[in-house]
Symmetry: C2
Subunit: 200 residues, 2 copies
Amino acid sequence: MKAIEDLVSLLTRLPGVGRKSALRIAYSLLRSDLAFSEALAERIRTLRATIHFCAECGAYAESELCQVCSDLSRDRSIVCVVEQPQDVITIEASKEYRGLYHVLGGVLSPLEGVGPDRLNIGKLIQRIQSSRATSVPILEVVIATNPTIEGDTTALYLKKLLEKEPVRVTRLATGIPVGGDLEYADRLTLARSFRGRSSF
Amino acid sequence: MKAIEDLVSLLTRLPGVGRKSALRIAYSLLRSDLAFSEALAERIRTLRATIHFCAECGAYAESELCQVCSDLSRDRSIVCVVEQPQDVITIEASKEYRGLYHVLGGVLSPLEGVGPDRLNIGKLIQRIQSSRATSVPILEVVIATNPTIEGDTTALYLKKLLEKEPVRVTRLATGIPVGGDLEYADRLTLARSFRGRSSF
């Protein structure tokens, strides 16, 4: 069945989709109403044409600026630095943060040949500096790169770099996840949550 | 991000795709090369137009007859009865069976109002009877409905019905799966594998 095999081999290139899941998806498409598979195909086809990168912060955007950058009610004195555009969506979903974002587009990784020049860092400095001419200068940069070796290295690099700027540099807390269990926390997480302990 | 949300809500209607997986798929499509997402969209769009049901056995087919029915090297004296078109693909993948198929299109389910008239049973009887006028009459019907209450009921119903025809009626063996462990076999499977034990 070539049509099914072709679809399955494309589907298995998606994250988290193995051959069995791909077959189940193909069969369900064969049984589903035609309108559904047509709508799905159309959304996949047009996704890339609809979504751009925000000219200001690098997050996903449907027009020149993303929803956050064009929202005048956001706190423009604080910028959260993330690795990838999807991190913005993840943080937005938590509804905890009301400031702006800055997407690096990756992390420093000497092994993979990713140096500072490959990341969207120059623009961050420029945003901080030009904000001083406005009524709301950037006062704090929250570094929200992942707590991995590369993410931590990138955070340290940015901290050093931002020492020259009159901004407070902070880092997201690492520790045991809420609802987690000490028993299942790895040694590094546990060590970090000790170092980061707060008075209670 | 409406374009992403729209795609995610469609993707979560696929089997085995929750919200997190759907988001991961959407992000990977945003990062993938354009040719890939266009190929995927095209395959999904054309799948239903390419795949039909075999006029003879009801399996998935790309022309009037499926690959099995149009393959003259298959053993036409034996017919394997399955519930769904995808079961044919599953059995074909095992490369164990060389006969023909017959797809019922479901199982008897009084609770859901599925009676014998809703299944592709009349055509099965007709195939058996008209095969007698050919050089290779159908001699055996292997019932391969799932070993569930509905599948077993359907198998029993077919066995009764086929008593009138000069064919041998068999049922796929049920028992402990190869590579399985007695410890994890449920009581019913274990009971069936005792009843179906063979000399060794």
